[in-house]
Symmetry: C2
Subunit: 416 residues, 2 copies
Amino acid sequence: MDRLSVKDMAIRARSASKYLAGAGQEAKNRVLELMAESLLERANDVLEANGRDVEKATLAGLPSAMLKRLTVTQAKLESMANGIRKVAALPDPVGKVLESWERPNGLKIQKVSVPFGVIGIIYESRPDVTADATALCLKSGNAVILRGGTESIESNLAIVGALGAALAKAGAPVDCVQYLVDPDRSAVKEMLHLSGYIDLLIPRGGANLIKTVVQDSTVPVIETGTGNCHVYVHEKADLSMALDIAINAKCSNPAVCNAMETLLVDRAVARDFLPGLVSSLKERGVEVRGCSETRAIVPDVQPATEDDWATEYLDLTLAVKVVGGLDEALDHISKYGTMHSEAIVTTDEAAAARFRSSVDAACVYVNASTRFTDGFEFGFGAEIGISTQKLHARGPMGLRELNTYKYVVTGNGQIR
Amino acid sequence: MDRLSVKDMAIRARSASKYLAGAGQEAKNRVLELMAESLLERANDVLEANGRDVEKATLAGLPSAMLKRLTVTQAKLESMANGIRKVAALPDPVGKVLESWERPNGLKIQKVSVPFGVIGIIYESRPDVTADATALCLKSGNAVILRGGTESIESNLAIVGALGAALAKAGAPVDCVQYLVDPDRSAVKEMLHLSGYIDLLIPRGGANLIKTVVQDSTVPVIETGTGNCHVYVHEKADLSMALDIAINAKCSNPAVCNAMETLLVDRAVARDFLPGLVSSLKERGVEVRGCSETRAIVPDVQPATEDDWATEYLDLTLAVKVVGGLDEALDHISKYGTMHSEAIVTTDEAAAARFRSSVDAACVYVNASTRFTDGFEFGFGAEIGISTQKLHARGPMGLRELNTYKYVVTGNGQIR
């Protein structure tokens, strides 16, 4: 072994987390400020390391979208440093008295926000996540163990080196941030089984990564990100609003989890709505796949198969289905949705109310684009991910969601 | 196959959960009232079925503590029915607007409490849990799949039969409550892997049951119950208060998770405190195991080994350790505690403050017994379990903790 075991890393992280849990807002913000500085001071190291990663990945034939996410430029580095400073500027989520009450026996009970302790973040080859996730974990009082994609190893080590130097300069434990070097994926498997040592795992990335973590992990996991999102155009929709929302939900950033993947439209308005929609989408390079009714109205559309309803394209592709009304739309969403973000466009308050209460998703929209499911758009000032599970946090997760709570009970000798 | 697969049960539960999610307080309370009635009407069935279970378990040599928990008497049945009625009388946790705000672009965001959907409860051979867990799940808008210990199978089926009859009478889906018959434990294994079908699993019972569920499950789990709880008597403690708290924490119900298992006492007061404590404990039948310093002060005490510090006795046994002060006490609790309930007895506010902030446990007590970690004692009016993990809920879990939330976002055409 030429390096620490994951368990030993977790033990060091636990120890560092005690410093962070007790560190006030000022101490944590000073660390974050120094981290931003250190990243810029070491820009050359990081850019050179990233150059080596990119060169290797290019030779290995990594797809261009992934190469783009792997590449760190001076501008991206500055944006990473700014991101850290923005996190520093956010309010400290730790130590808030969430509730307090007194029992008839005189016991005073307070419910207080506290950090989880040690958080593991497993992500793809995106070096910007290294800085971003670190800032969010530290600000929320948690030590973090990072494990990024193998293609980004040199970049990540250079970034974590810069972040660690800032911790040392601030006199804080360097083990607040550790990076798991794991070329053969054996250590990450070990990480998934360190319950009692790691308090929370957050996988960020594609569906396969998340599935693997959820299936193998005995550490509590927050699932993030898979979004098979729908926009449903109700028969009483403002069709011009519906068009704007549909174009925005599909085209403004098709690669992200809150983009629309299937559009549902009521039969009553399909003939009025679909031709204009499909032509606008095609102008924007979107491939449309439709049900047979859609194709009867707009012949120039590929046929959709069962698979299309279940697919998160993350691309300029859209499935379109004509439905008989709200019930059929709700059934379709219930069957194929991933409980991420679902929208109805309607002027009918009764339909809106039923959609709101019946759709089981993290974010349910009436007359707005699904693209707003985002920590910044929600006003959280940050985002560690978008939870698609129901335990602890749902939807956009900011600093607050990186805290748990404890009960502090004060008495004067009460016994039971 | 002579019965439904667990997956098919979960699909039925999902469908029933939609009824429950939309059912108002009145409809749910009527179901609960009918359940209480039905349980009493079918008292003979339940008692006879339980008689068969108890007979079989007695022949099989089940330990007497377990036999006691398995046995249903007329009085216990009435207490189960009353328990259901008490749950009916609690406020409905569903549909509360937890927060709401408006974004600069006019989007209105509401965070609303909603049921999880389908909850699986895996528990030991305690038929009263069958009624209790059902009432809590239904009141919180969740369908439930129950799987109790094999010794209680006939009792549980009789109880679930009575509960199902009440659902039918109320015109509600009978699949709101289902019981998993699983003599060879293959179905429960399947249940642990039904992520996407079951939203939450709560294991209730012994450490082994919980460990198995946590290790095997891909469905989100809330760990409950293991409590290696400490009372720490600080050098500035009111020693008479400390004695009362220690006796209460150990003796009032040693078989439960919030009972004290190890007492820590500062060296400065050990000589004053321990002789009286040990003699009071011995009067109550408690076996005391002490560190060498404890035995130097009170010779008539068994030696404690390393194992004792880590053991949840759940019995009239107590480990006692003399410590050099707050730091050593905090280290001991950090090393051996299970993050359940930890208490300090002190008149020193600085020591209390440090204990409160440094101890990582669901419930941290100052000058009160650990035995208050309980949904009823906290004023929740109910308890499905005590969480010892950090995700979603910590400490006593009542109706509110059986809900998650969703964001409801209302716009007038906002796009991003």
